[in-house]
């Protein structure tokens, strides 16, 4: 994730700073630049680390206690006891499964749908502005509002979905799978535009000549997509997948509004919320939060190592 400095600054300082770094002796100019750099970037850096780092460390600490807010006197150090309790609980693994299922399904559908949307945005010569404006509405809309819109649409009291599909009084939120389906539809609707804009950026970087050449060579439309377009936007796809997977894994708002965890639709974020806020089991809830954080880090690590996602490859400056 390196940043290219401006041409002037780099050409003036590069020869000076490089040997200086080895010898520790800095020229006045580079020392000044170094101080100014931290003076400007320092406040943002400190605030970011403080507002995130402190709560995380605090959560790790609290997760080692058997601590219920309503019973502070009974606070008891139990080491990794909370983790043992969570990881041996079948309910946790079920919620882990639900969260993973939602993540895999929504991200997979969003990738395909997002690619189709990106192709339309890239190719359509007419309606360009209305198209891009419309696509930003689901992106910008509050997740809670989207969740309500879909919850009411699927509702068997208020919604138009049942009459439209001829399903009569079918209760979408009465069963695990149908409720999860509704939640996934809401999530996919809301976040596909973001995915498609990331893919559009990758699509725009493919030179038209490549496609022209493939066409001249007689490649069919599907072959052009498979052999020319997809390989050339691999980096953009990987970045979009990484961002969306990490985002989908922490799903909370839609679950809270649409099912409130009923019918076994609880996700890990919802579990952390319920343990800490509703049941005020601070120790146990903190442990769930820490596990969730570790899982997110693991997913990111997997992406970066196994899929070899190189974030710098997706950058415009390596043309």
């Amino acid at each position: 994730m390196s940043i290219t400095t401006s041409a002037s600054a780099a050409s003036q300082d590069a020869p000076v700073t490089k040997p200086a770094r080895r010898k520790v002796r800095l020229t006045d100019r580079s020392r000044h630049e170094r101080n100014l750099g931290w003076l400007l970037a320092g406040p943002a850096f400190i605030v970011m680390v403080a507002v995130t780092g402190y709560p995380i460390l605090n959560a790790i600490w609290l997760s080692l206690f058997d601590y219920r807010l309503t019973d502070p006197a009974g606070r008891d150090f139990i080491g990794l006891g909370n983790y043992g309790m969570i990881l041996t609980d079948a309910l946790f693994w079920q919620q882990f499964g639900i969260t993973t299922l939602i993540t895999v399904v929504t991200v997979a559908v969003e990738l395909v749908l997002g690619f189709a949307l990106a192709m339309v945005m890239h190719r359509a010569l007419y309606l360009r502005t209305p198209l891009r404006t419309a696509i930003l509405v689901p992106y910008g809309i509050i997740t809670v509002v989207s969740a309500y819109a879909w919850a009411y649409a699927f509702s068997n009291t208020y919604g138009f979905v049942n009459p439209m599909l001829g399903l009569g009084e079918f209760d979408w939120f009465g069963g695990t799978w149908s409720a999860l389906f509704a939640v996934c539809v809401a999530e996919i609707w809301k976040t596909t535009p973001f995915m498609s804009l990331l893919l559009l950026a990758g699509l725009a970087q493919i030179p038209d000549d490549y496609l022209e050449a493939a066409k001249v060579d007689g490649a069919k439309a599907w072959q052009r997509v498979k052999r020319v377009i997809l390989p050339n936007m691999k980096a953009a796809i990987m970045v979009a997948l990484l961002f969306r997977t990490l985002d989908a894994f922490r799903i909370f708002d839609s679950i809270f509004i649409m099912t409130a965890g009923a019918q076994n639709t609880e996700t890990l974020s919802f579990l952390a919320y319920r343990q800490t806020i509703s049941r005020v089991m601070i120790g146990l809830g903190s442990a769930v939060s820490v596990i969730l954080a570790i899982l997110v880090v693991l997913i990111a690590f997997l992406f970066l190592k196994v899929f070899k996602t190189d974030l710098s490859q997706a950058r415009g400056d390596r043309k």
Partner: protein
């Protein structure tokens, strides 16, 4: 690439389908918000009579108007703080050579993907102990945990594209340092700062997790959290349509920003995220 007429028509049809995809659910909640009485349960897409009754209800309710004031106030404050700090940091990252600048960007990126609930639950305990629970400050501080990294990496991506050497060129041409900054650099940087502000505002405006975990009353509860509380604890006999009306009200700022700044938002999202 020249495409045949048929192919052109196919893309236009595709474009119309995508537009419908994006706006039908929004139109549905708008339509629901104008329903009254028996219409609310008529299960049809449109009301038989369009009524403003639900809007009158939500604006007459302190629950909603206070939440709206909280949302607007806290989102503007968090956005302003984030954009100021991020502008300084992004300027340093894109223009100056100093050890640790990759660390600043790396930390920003790592924090944006962090599960928000994992920050909210420890703060619930901490804020109760130090008196920040259920206050504006108690929400603005955690908002910075995602608005600031977002602003930093969007701005760093924007500033990388700025031809900084134009500042020296202006000085060579006889401008003072201040004139060069004011006339050359500010106009170049302003669109990026503005875009970062819009994206940051969207992110904070969307908050739900902090809103429900760190508040217990109207004192600081933002709209998304207040919407969730309309259900049980409200005076409305039938909260569905009023919720829809309230949802439409908080969607209006989003639609206005999108209509006015579509181009900038697309540029900000793609450069910020992909080039991150």
């Amino acid at each position: 690439m020249k495409a045949s007429r048929q192919v052109q028509i196919a893309w236009v049809v595709g474009a119309i389908l995508v537009i419908l995809y994006a706006i039908i659910p929004v139109f549905w909640i708008v339509s629901l918000s104008f329903k009254e009485g028996d219409d609310i349960t008529n299960k049809s897409f449109l009301p038989t009579v369009w009524s403003w009754a639900n809007y009158r209800t939500v604006f007459a309710s302190d629950l909603f108007t206070t939440a709206l004031r909280n949302s607007v106030g806290m989102a503007l404050i968090a956005t302003t703080i984030s954009v100021i700090l991020a502008t300084l940091a992004a300027y340093a990252i894109s223009r100056l050579e100093f050890p640790g600048k990759r660390l600043v960007l790396g930390v920003a990126l790592a924090i944006t993907v962090f599960p928000v609930i994992a920050i909210a639950t420890p703060l619930f305990n901490l804020w109760r102990n130090i008196g920040l629970y259920d206050t504006w400050l108690g929400l603005i501080i955690p908002y910075l945990s995602y608005s600031l990294p977002l602003a930093v990496y969007v701005l760093a991506a924007f500033f990388r594209e700025i031809p900084w050497e134009m500042e020296q060129a202006a000085q060579v041409d006889g401008a003072t340092a201040w004139q060069a900054f004011r006339r050359v650099i500010v106009p170049l940087a302003a669109p990026g700062v503005f875009t970062a502000a819009i994206l940051t505002f969207f992110a904070v405006w969307n908050d739900f997790v902090f809103g429900i975990t760190l508040t217990s009353s109207e004192a600081a509860r933002p709209v998304p959290a207040a919407l969730a509380f309309f259900q049980g604890a409200s005076q409305f006999s039938q909260p569905t349509a009023p919720i829809a009306a309230a949802a439409v009200v908080v969607t209006i700022p989003v639609v206005i920003l999108v209509l006015l700044f579509q181009r900038k938002i697309v540029a900000g999202l793609t450069s910020g995220a992909v080039k991150g």
